[in-house]
């Protein structure tokens, strides 16, 4: 089965959005689930990416990704009409969506992408949705308009104050939790952000859900490479997650595991950039 890129654009530097033909996945996907793509069968890496939206009529799924290493950069260089050889999914358990009351959705960086379908789902289920989106600076903020459309309240923060408030996401989160009754926090973003957002929620006795992005291979529970410690127990992110109770996740351990191949990944990216520059690979 071929998976054609139907549309694609760069949202901001190194962040891409694309609609990709994958009818089987589009028909089955629910908010919170992800796919694993593999550009070419022989040698390419398997890359897990959240399904940021689906169009069942078109048979397509929407992916939003940041070029952080060789594989995501290579994906970013593909053009409309190009094909991915492999798209597997939907994987993981869907988000538990119901009318909780007031839900605060906290997104950091590329985390806004997986957060969007969940926030939408929460809104549709009748929740009051307050969204807090954080970015390092204005140019790296993505999906602001999409969140505006579905949020009862939208708060933007940037690290450098170039847009919205100059703060980290936990500051407005803390204030909201103090000033009104919040029934649920959903936080998706870098591990460190999820760690502190969880701590903030716990401080106010509010349940918190996070979505983990550990390193994966198969995505079907076969390898154990995605394992994390949750409440002292071993869990596999690809089948038991990717969402977990943020108050129970051992984030420090997870962050260490995500560094496992740092040296090799850097080497691969350097080599790839070099090749692109001298025009061999494109």
């Amino acid at each position: 089965m071929s998976h054609k890129i139907l549309s694609k654009k760069e949202l901001c530097k190194d962040v891409y959005i694309a609609d990709i033909e994958a009818p089987l996945v589009a028909a089955a996907a629910k908010p919170g689930q992800f796919v694993i793509i593999c550009l070419q069968t022989t040698y390419s890496e398997r890359i897990p990416l959240t399904i940021a939206g689906t169009d069942e009529k078109n048979g397509s799924i929407r992916l939003i990704w940041q070029a952080v290493g060789k594989s995501t950069a290579e994906f970013g260089h593909l053009k409309v009409g190009d094909e991915l050889e492999n798209v597997l999914g939907p994987l993981g358990k869907p988000t538990h969506i119901e009318n909780f009351g007031t839900v605060v959705c906290v997104g950091g960086g590329i985390g806004n992408a997986p957060l969007l379908p969940i926030a939408k789902g929460m809104k549709q289920a009748g929740n009051k949705v307050i969204s807090i989106l954080g970015a390092r600076n204005k140019s790296l903020l993505i999906l602001e308009d999409d969140f505006k459309a579905i949020s009862d309240e939208l708060i933007i923060v940037t690290d450098d104050g170039s847009y919205g408030r100059k703060a980290v996401v936990t500051v407005p989160l803390d204030e909201i939790c103090q000033s009104q009754k919040v029934d649920m926090v959903v936080a998706i973003g870098p591990a460190i952000m999820m760690k502190f957002a969880s701590q903030t929620a716990v401080k106010h006795n509010i349940p918190v859900v996070v979505s983990l992005n550990t390193i994966m291979i198969d995505g079907t529970g076969m390898c154990g490479g995605c394992r994390v410690e949750v409440g002292g127990q071993t869990k596999f992110v690809c089948v038991d997650g990717p969402e977990f109770d943020g108050s129970k996740v051992n984030f420090d351990l997870m962050m260490k595991r995500m560094q496992a191949y740092k040296k090799q990944e850097q080497q691969a990216l350097e080599e790839y950039k070099h090749k692109c520059k001298i025009g061999l690979d494109k």
């Binding site: 089955a28 595991r257 691969a268």
Partner: protein, 490 residues
């Protein structure tokens, strides 16, 4: 006298009917030609090279052609062993292949990876005569010889397909069981689709068993053969998630389903330090190395694997041997195999244990890890083990290892591979209402490999727990017969 002359002389006697059993006992068992132990440490090419024609015919002449053929009883799929061996003697390799194919669809695979010493070769009369199973006729190697001969002739073996029946069969998982079911059900004229989660079909034969033991090209030929027969293969499809078994049957019109999704839920030891960077399940380690070709990282492949210097592999089965031998090929200087029983109890094939030793793997027997120790960055730097002694036999009949108190010692390592077995992957069970499972989560089936649901059959590791290629194939045969019968009545 060289081998060729010896063969000629023996063949003459054989034709004249004067070759006595005593003469046959005297024929030296033919050793398997193999890659040099040092050279192969740095390549992933196949280790065992296969017999040449002379060696094969000499080895075949060792067979007594026993009336009761006890060897056949030892083969889970009852290959007519003495019949195919006698054709090798005669030089009728094509005929020999035909005889093997009646019962086994993957002879090039089984000839390589079957644990022959505990199956067909265990009851062999020749081995019994010498009171040494290593002296048995090398049935597996002969099987491999014949199938490799066939592959070299590009002998087209695509089985004939009956007229279309209009019935559709879905096969979940493309391991050896699934491949066999696909072949047998397609032969009967049904429309067959295999659904495979990975991006390459073949099951454990492609992601687990390494290239140096089972070249992936062989598995690929089998897959190509299926496609030639008209079997459709859908990759990147996780049954239970992309579609459930019920959806396949009720919405997509599949009349029968075979579940052959394998075991594949890695067990860990639940000891301190198992989350450290550098600790792998064997499944992950082997998948990175084989399926994703991490041994070519930086030379084309994008998937990394630990660049280890000192590796500890925990376990004593084929999976452990494969992991240890893979570590050697990935450049590790020291590889330790840690197993809690003695060598006699090791479930790995004798040949693999032998190969592992030749490749310099250090065995630490009657030892078991107590904890894994990391550095400040959360990366493994040592493994602490306990010494064991053998106590009374346990339920499996093997003597139970008992820890010796205060015997702790540590080995410096940067990588630990845990190869202590697999449980049943729960995904299909969780997403298929009414599918009966046993207490370990394996699917329960009757004698025809039928599950608790009508039209749904299962076999291989998801039924048997971690088993073997030939057992999965055997169940595939049974299930296919069941499906064909069920569809004939439907």
């Amino acid at each position: 006298m060289n081998d060729k002359q010896l063969l000629e002389e023996l063949l003459n006697k054989h034709k004249a009917g004067t070759l006595k059993p005593a003469d046959r006992y005297n024929i030296p068992p033919q050793a398997m030609p193999q890659q040099d132990g040092v050279a192969r440490r740095s390549n992933v090419e196949e280790v065992a090279l296969g017999y040449n024609e002379t060696q094969a015919r000499l080895e075949a002449l060792r067979c007594l052609g026993c009336k009761n053929a006890p060897c056949m009883e030892g083969c889970p799929v009852r290959i007519k062993i003495k019949d195919f061996i006698v054709e090798i003697v005669e030089g009728n390799f094509q005929k020999a292949l035909g005889i093997i194919r009646e019962n086994s669809l993957l002879p090039a695979v089984c000839g390589r990876v079957c644990p022959q010493e505990v199956q067909c070769q265990l009851p062999c009369t020749v081995g019994k005569k010498f009171k040494n199973v290593d002296m048995s006729v090398s049935i597996g190697r002969l099987e491999r010889f014949v199938s490799d001969w066939g592959r070299k002739q590009h002998e087209n073996s695509t089985p004939a397909v009956a007229a279309p029946t209009g019935k559709k069969v879905a096969i979940l998982g493309s391991g050896p069981g699934g491949i066999v079911v696909a072949t047998d059900v397609r032969r009967a004229g049904h429309d067959v689709t295999i659904f495979e989660a990975f991006h390459k079909p073949g099951g454990v034969m492609v992601y687990g068993i390494p290239e140096f033991r089972l070249p992936k090209a062989i598995v690929q030929e089998e897959i190509d053969g299926l496609e030639k027969m008209g079997v459709k293969i859908i990759r990147n499809f996780v049954a239970g998630r992309t579609k459930t078994v019920k959806e396949l049957m009720e919405k997509d019109g599949f009349d029968a389903v075979y579940i052959g999704v394998g075991a594949g839920l890695p067990m860990f030891m639940n000891i301190e330090g198992e989350h450290l960077v550098g600790v792998y399940s064997a499944n992950e380690y082997l998948t990175r190395a084989n399926l994703m070709k991490a041994y070519d990282f930086g030379k084309g492949a994008d998937t990394p694997i630990a660049m280890s210097k000192r590796v500890a592999v925990v376990g004593g089965g084929n999976v452990a041997m494969d992991s240890a031998r893979t570590a050697v090929r990935l450049g590790a200087e020291k590889v330790y195999l840690i197993y809690r029983r003695s060598e006699k109890e090791m479930p790995a094939r004798v040949e693999e244990v032998h190969h592992a030793k030749e490749e310099g793997i250090e065995f630490h027997l009657l030892r078991n890890p107590k904890r894994i120790i990391g550095n400040g960055d959360g990366v493994v730097n040592a493994i602490e083990c306990l010494k064991f002694e053998l106590g009374e036999p346990d339920a499996s009949g093997r003597r139970r290892p008992v820890p010796i108190e205060g015997s702790e010692f540590t080995i410096d390592v940067d990588t630990v591979v845990v190869a202590i077995g697999n449980g049943a992957n729960p995904l299909i069970g969780q997403t298929t209402d009414g599918l009966a499972l046993n207490k370990w989560g394996n699917i329960t089936v009757d004698d025809n490999c039928k599950t608790s649901l009508d039209g749904v059959y299962a076999g291989g590791d998801i039924v048997l727990g971690a088993a073997t290629v030939i057992l999965a194939m055997g169940q595939g045969r049974t299930a296919a017969a069941g499906i064909n019968e069920y569809l004939a009545k439907k």
